[in-house]
């Protein structure tokens, strides 16, 4: 009996998942009776099976719904929100009953009289005249037989497998990959061995098997999208905005574990779009937009990752309101607000609890708990980006890996211990030897890497892990997490491998910087480092700001210490200026054609936002027309960045800084004006 019951539960769920979609189609195109037949059939079969198990509640409900559906199907009742709504409610109750049956194997107690009465009341409104359409009735029979036929062929091609079996298969394949790696490792040192060719062969087969098993766990993202039309429909009624949902790429397949993990974030974003993103119909009409708001879902593969976009054609995010809120919440000061880039402002939306504030949701819309969305997506190695255009709408881009189980990783040595680094976040490797040691600058104990005009913060992995290590030669792994690029010092890079991620033991989870553990080809256990956690740990926002402040201040005042200074020429007379290197975050070169003027200020589009550019002692209007590009020194702290245009970057010097009157000092044998970061930011503030 239990077996039959399980089969019944699975079958009903399967059918119910199609129903929502069919019902919404029906409501939109009432003349199309095809969906009605399917719905009627599903409810009918539920009713039929209930008797066998003695589920009386379910039977009574299904019976009432079936009666109403029958009248709708035969045209005795018009199809409208009024007549469809009770059916939707009935299906909701049926779902909750099925959920309970699945759990406890018995029907839960409850009274559905009110709902049944509503269904019957609608039935009673029927005109009683059943439009006689004999041809269509045989047509229905025909199409029923036809679709039964179709179903048979589809079911012959696929079979239902318990997820537990697939998970076990995946685990076993994981083990197999490890054993394969061990064999390959052993045979690598013995090229003449007779075992080598068969091991090669085995290796290929295992790779094929691994791929095939991964395929079995893949499910189309359409599974999530199937549920959304109903949610959007209900929201549309609830908040009184006409909404339309469009989807693309429903067939894009993802590992089922990931599919489960992104379900809630996607639903959340769609709700946000409907609730806050899209304006009321009247507002839309005033702005010459179609009164029906559109939510567009798109999924596609891109570079070994899956991108999911949730786009709305609403009002866009009110950046001013968001930054005002950020000031109010003390995330930034009022002065800092002026120099904020768009991407920085958008990043506030991901601050925990930020968007729950009422004003923001009302004024700017969007973002009830976007921090939760980001946390959930990052948990599975993904990332979330926001883009918005005032009056045109907002797009949320979620990027996620294809699978969690097997990843490609760099095996690196830190203090003679191997660790694995997921390759997804790694941009490049820089080997540091005695020759190019100068690429690394030490600024008050925090190191930076000079990489093609950029200054990247560097984390000493050995120090972070508490391993003592003093290296003269080492490798820097340049990695990117979110929008942040930074370097990681490791002893050397040993290998790249496909590794099977195993969760870290319960006792080690509190350490957080490990994303998992794995077994290498030689049988050694290695820990997998979590780049995002390492970045978060190494560059905690407050410590980062503190470091900048401290080094900035000492740079100008600490008289006895040597200070690194960046020398550059600027102004009409091309006078040499200096700025403490510690305050500089990057040096960029911008094409003159890319510079934009607005209201006497100069901007450049930079990293998805606008960067304010300043010029010392000269009007921003008189840029040298002869040059095609200009260097800019970028200053940035936690919340604000600004670029200082220079005519020429001269050098970096390390000298004892003795400030004379007027902020001058003798550097590299020349009188040089030493600027302070606060001075530069002050100019930005005044002009703003």
């Amino acid at each position: 009996m239990e077996e039959f019951l399980n089969e019944f539960v699975v079958e009903v769920w399967d059918n119910l998942s199609h129903l929502d979609r069919e019902l919404i189609t029906l409501e939109k195109c009432p003349q199309d009776r095809e969906p009605l037949k399917t719905i009627f059939r599903v409810i009918h079969s539920i009713k039929g099976s209930c008797g066998m198990f003695g589920f009386q509640r379910l039977e009574r409900l299904a019976h009432a719904a079936e009666d109403l559906l029958g009248l709708l199907r035969d045209g005795a009742l018009p199809i409208s929100t009024e007549t469809i709504q009770p059916v939707l409610s009935a299906i909701d109750v049926i779902k909750s009953i099925m959920g309970a049956i699945e759990k406890d194997q018995t029907e839960p107690a409850g009274d559905d009289t009110a709902l049944v009465e509503r269904l019957r009341a609608v039935c009673r409104k029927s005109t009683g005249e059943i439009s006689p359409v004999p041809v269509s009735s045989t047509g229905a029979e025909l199409s029923r037989a036809e679709s039964a036929n179709n179903r048979a062929t589809i079911s012959e091609q696929s079979l239902r497998v318990h997820v537990g079996v697939l998970d076990r298969l995946m685990n076993l394949v994981g083990e197999l990959v490890l054993s394969r790696n061990q064999l390959v490792e052993l045979s690598r040192n013995q090229e003449e061995s007779p075992f080598s060719p068969p091991i090669q062969q085995l290796s290929r087969i295992v790779s094929g098997l691994q791929e095939a098993v991964m395929m079995t766990r893949m499910q189309p993202i359409g599974q999530i999208w199937g549920k959304l039309p109903r949610i959007v429909r209900d929201l549309s009624h609830e908040i009184g905005k006409p909404l339309e949902l469009k989807t693309n790429g429903a067939e894009t397949e993802i590992d089922r574990q990931i599919l489960q993990a992104i379900h809630d974030p996607i639903v959340h974003c769609v709700r946000n779009a409907a609730d806050h993103g899209i304006e009321m119909a009247e507002v839309r009409q005033k702005n010459c937009k179609p009164s029906t708001g559109e939510i567009f879902l798109n999924a596609f593969h891109e570079g070994g990752q899956i991108v999911i976009e949730i786009r709305d054609d609403g009002a866009g995010i009110d950046l001013g309101a968001v930054s005002a809120k950020a000031v109010e919440r003390g995330l930034i000061s009022a002065e800092e607000r002026a120099g904020l880039t768009e991407s920085k402002i958008l990043s506030f939306i991901f601050e925990p609890g930020f968007s729950t504030a009422r004003q923001v949701t009302e004024v700017s819309g969007r973002g009830v708990g976007m921090d939760v969305v980001r946390t959930n997506v990052e948990k599975i190695g993904g990332s979330v980006e926001l883009a918005t255009r005032a009056g045109h709408g907002t797009t949320v881009r979620i990027k996620i890996p294809l699978t969690l189980a097997i990843i490609s990783a760099l095996i690196v040595n830190v203090g003679r211990h191997p660790f694995a680094l997921p390759q997804v976040g790694v941009l490049e490797l820089v080997r540091i030897t005695a020759q190019n040691r100068t690429l690394i600058e030490d600024i008050h104990g925090s190191r930076v890497l000079k990489l093609r005009d950029r200054l990247l913060p560097v984390v000493d992995l050995a120090a972070l892990l508490g391993i003592h290590d003093n290296l003269s030669e080492f490798t820097i792994v340049v990695a990117k997490v979110d929008q942040m690029v930074f370097g990681l010092i490791v002893q050397d890079v040993l290998d790249t491998q496909e590794i099977v991620v195993k969760p870290v033991g319960k006792l080690l989870r509190a350490i957080q910087i490990y994303a998992g553990s794995t077994i290498l080809g030689d049988g050694r256990v290695v820990l997998i480092l979590d780049l995002a956690r390492i970045a978060a740990r190494a560059f905690a926002p407050d410590t980062r700001a503190a470091v900048l402040e401290e080094t900035g201040a000492n740079g100008a005042e600490g008289a006895n210490q040597k200070t690194k200074l960046l020398l550059f020429r600027t102004g009409k007379d091309l006078a040499t200026h200096a700025i403490p290197l510690a305050a500089v975050s990057r040096i960029e070169e911008f094409p003159v054609s890319k510079l934009e003027r607005n209201g006497g200020r100069l901007f450049v589009q930079y990293r998805g936002g606008l960067l304010r550019l300043l010029r010392l002692g000269a009007d921003v209007g008189d840029l040298d027309p002869g040059n095609t590009s200009v260097p800019a020194i970028i200053f940035a702290d936690a919340d604000k960045s600004v670029g200082l245009l220079a005519s020429e970057i001269v050098d970096i010097v390390e000298e004892r800084l003795v400030l004379q009157e007027g902020g001058f000092a003798v550097l590299a044998g020349h009188a040089t004006r030493v600027l302070e970061i606060s001075e530069i930011l002050g100019i930005a503030g005044e002009a703003g």
């Binding site: 083990e175 490890l178 211990h417 892990l465 033991g505 006792l507 080690l508 350490i511 077994i519 820990l527």
Partner: protein, 161 residues
């Protein structure tokens, strides 16, 4: 595990730490193994020696001397991994307890189990499920979940004023 529950268990895997004989019910021990390469886990508590590869399964190694606050073993001294199951954990919560040496499986069918002596201090009191008085020595029975519970123990201590 309470004393009453232990009464049902008559066989114990015995092992030594310094001069102390300790035991774990055979039903909780999967195997005893030595000579595996241990991967250290930086930033973990001192009790955690690292991770071992037990036929494809990654197992956390707990140094029982460190866990019990005993002096360090000399680097070259032999040691053994007692692989224990921590019942409630899925899948197969396996841990390795690092001990000095392994003794016999002791059958205690006619010896009564005694509650932990009141004079036992701190950690020992927490991890001791009971004792058996044997002819030559006293067998201290370890409560595996308590042995593995050092993180919460530390948290509790932190919360105390």
């Amino acid at each position: 595990m309470m004393v009453t529950q232990l009464e049902a268990c008559r066989e114990y895997v015995s092992f030594r730490l310094e001069h102390q004989t300790l035991g774990i019910p055979v039903t909780q021990v999967q195997e005893v193994i030595s000579g595996l390469q241990v991967t250290p886990v930086p930033l973990a508590g001192t009790e955690v020696r690292g991770l071992i590869n037990l036929r494809g399964q990654i197992v956390t190694v707990i140094d029982l001397r460190r866990r019990l606050g005993m002096p360090e073993r000399a680097p070259d001294d032999p040691c053994m991994n007692v692989i224990v199951r921590n019942g409630d954990e899925e899948p197969e919560g396996l841990y390795s307890l690092l001990v000095d040496s392994i003794g016999d499986v002791l059958n205690v069918h006619d010896i009564p189990i005694l509650p932990p002596p009141a004079t036992l201090d701190g950690i020992w009191r927490r991890i001791c499920a009971g004792v058996f008085r044997l002819d030559q020595a006293i067998l201290v029975v370890l409560d595996v979940p308590s042995v593995l519970n050092f993180q919460e123990e530390k948290n509790d201590e932190k919360e105390k004023p």
